[in-house]
């Protein structure tokens, strides 16, 4: 059962500024992203203008404002991955899915994110799909990986 927004907000004390970020994180864990309603309600609870809540949420890389796709691609853009050609990998994934980083495809099946380092520098370049790591990939592998996920839907 998915916890409702009010339930999650109720876990934290009203008006306490330091619970703002944990609260937003909890909402994101439950729903996968922060929608307008969440920002407004959190603002009321913490007693901060919702513009400020939104400002803080956009400051941090972690928060998303669009729904994740069914398959969430994370392409590592760390230094080691960059040296092993991850910029080409990112471009190829963008081309194959026809979306830019940070976006979700219109059918809601795929979303793409570029992350700064996943700490798997030894097996660069790395792509992570829904938590599953694919290591030392090359550009031709991408079409195969995407097809694999396309066929499972």
């Amino acid at each position: 059962m998915q916890a409702t927004l009010d339930e999650i907000i109720g876990r934290y004390k009203a008006g306490s500024r330091e619970s703002l970020l944990p609260l937003l994180q909890d909402i994101q864990i439950e729903y996968g992203y922060l929608n307008e309603e969440a920002i407004l309600k959190v603002g009321q609870h913490i007693k901060l203008p919702s513009s400020k809540v939104y400002g803080i949420a956009t400051f941090y890389d972690q928060f998303r404002f669009v729904q994740k796709g069914k398959f969430h691609f994370k392409v590592c853009r760390g230094t080691s991955c960059h040296m092993h050609g991850s910029s080409g990998i990112l471009r190829e994934v963008e081309r194959a899915l026809n979306i830019k980083e940070g976006q979700t495809t219109r059918d809601g099946r795929f979303s793409l994110e570029a992350v700064s380092c996943m700490g798997a520098c030894g097996s660069a370049p790395v792509v992570n799909v829904n938590g599953e790591f694919r290591t030392a990939i090359s550009i031709p592998d991408i079409a195969r990986i995407i097809d694999l996920y396309r066929s499972t839907i």
């Binding site: 306490s16 500024r17 330091e18 619970s19 703002l20 970020l21 944990p22 937003l24 994180q25 913490i46 400002g55 803080i56 400051f59 941090y60 890389d61 972690q62 928060f63 853009r77 760390g78 230094t79 080691s80 991955c81 960059h82 040296m83 992350v115 700064s116 380092c117 996943m118 700490g119 798997a120 520098c121 030894g122 097996s123 660069a124 790395v126 790591f133 290591t135 550009i139």
Partner: protein
Amino acid sequence: MDEKQFLIEKVLAAKADIRQREVSDILSAIRHDTVTKPVVYIGSGTCGKVAGADKTLEAVNRYLEEKNLVAEIVQVGCIGICSYEPVVDIQLPGKARISFRNITHELVEPLLDDIFNSEVPAEHVFGQFNNSRHNRWENVPLIEELPFFKYQHRIVLANCGISNPDSLADYIARGGYQTYLKCIRNYTSEKICSVVDQSGLRGRGGGGYNTGQKWITAHNTVSDQKYLICNAAESDPGAFMDRAVIEGDPHLLLEGIAIAAYAVGATKAYIYVMDDYSQAFLMLNAAINQLKEYGFTGYNIFDSGIDLKVTLVRGPGAFVCGEETALINSIEGKRGMPRPKPPFPAIEGLFGKPTIVNNVETLANIPFILRHGPQRFNEIGTAEAKGTKVFAISGKAMITGLVEVPMGTKIKDIIFKIAGGVKDGKDFKAVQIGGPSGSCLPASKLDLPVGYESLWNEGAIIGSGGMIVMDEDTCMVDMAKFFMNFLQKESCGKCIPCREGTRRIHEILENITRRPTGESGFEVLERFKGIMQLAELAEVIKDTSLCGLGQTAPNPLMSAMKWFREEFEEHVFDRKCRAGVCKELRLFYIDVDKCTGCVACLRKCPVNAIVGQPRQPHFIIEEKCIGCGICFDVCKFVAVKLK
């Protein structure tokens, strides 16, 4: 008597004597020094999991079930050689613990078949552990004699990949938390501060400020509440030492935190961990719960009258939050923007109270210093830098992973002796030290010893300890552009030099790597104007930024321009990239003698820049070509060539 009660009464009690025979026997069993059934250790740090440790674990479980064998499985952290993951160690009763590399799930069965018949499969074995109570395997080198380990001096990483990180009992059996109890029972907080000061320990997170001095300042500030923050906001690309410590030996860090909190008089400690580090977060959470159970945290710890509460904070991902004042703002629920200093956090920090912010590695050194005294620690390292430093080696090195060396070790020795040099037999070009705001050093500077001032004098910083090895296929302009892009994205936007300056530098670097064809006169002018102002702009950013991020942001650019000037000039004047990395600078042509007219490239070209009839040689229209290189990749006859 259960394990917990035994440890508290016989090991941790004020008058405990752990040298008693029956006590030490139980302890060595907990440490797995003596085992009664086979033990399989699986390297399950994040690097192990990426390489497939979970599937290996499943395969081991399945094997044991099928063959009806009884064995204990221990999931350990990373031993440091990430490129050998998944690492599987096996310890048979009476035999030495032996390590195997790259054991993916399909290799589990043949490996266990061999080992349970006391045979060593030669292919994947890389070493065995030295223990006087165990019989050694024949023809297997000792782990400590391998070049990777021989030159290391492990204090922080001593138990990583060896002990069971999920078990507090294991940590106590190795002497853990006895130092903490010794501190709170016998030492005053002033004494601990001065011991740390005498040891000469300096911050390992990048700033290099004297830890003891910082503690003394906070200790001497009068306040009703003080805080300790452990900075585990490790988000430099290419640095993963904090994560490895947390995943490999979380209690070492927690003991350091407990001692530090007592020394400065803090009753609340926060650990700020990046939210991406999901495994590290779970392990720390479990470890903190164990502490509560044993009574190491809470009120009146072991009847000493001291209170401590440890809270985990999930960092929502911003590079600048590694800066201590930005981190404090983030915990307070604000944007992670740095505050002007002074007042320093040790006087006015979290919620306006005295706060000590220390890096994971700094705190992980504390138990060693208090256990063996400042003298032991002082003997390691150089005059200006004491102790050891953990480096995360990645990039084009033969072995990627974590190494801990005494300060003063030559960079050359780390890269060539420990990490085995550059992979695929390529030539070494440069090494980037200190993460995205560090500097690169060329081959001629590899004799430098690692330390704070020794590197600072050459314009480099030790930073958090990322070490990225670059080979001849790396373009220095492209690397500088990559780092500037990272920094301009991560700049918090509070002060103008950093916010605007890093973006301008990135723009200028984009300009010099832009496609040379079809450039208008105005664009050429802009390009040259930018280059002329590049060095000056970098100086301004360095001198006028508010925090460490901005002050060090131009480092990668300035060092690359200093040591690899000819490469920059090639990009600017000849419009060429010798490494072939700057894609837009590549100009292609088709060798008419080799082209068979197969139309593969013509079909794939995204901008229709290739013309030609089937079975006739093709041509590239240079004005249309965007330099993507698809034709180069698809040509089976090597007819597409670089100009």
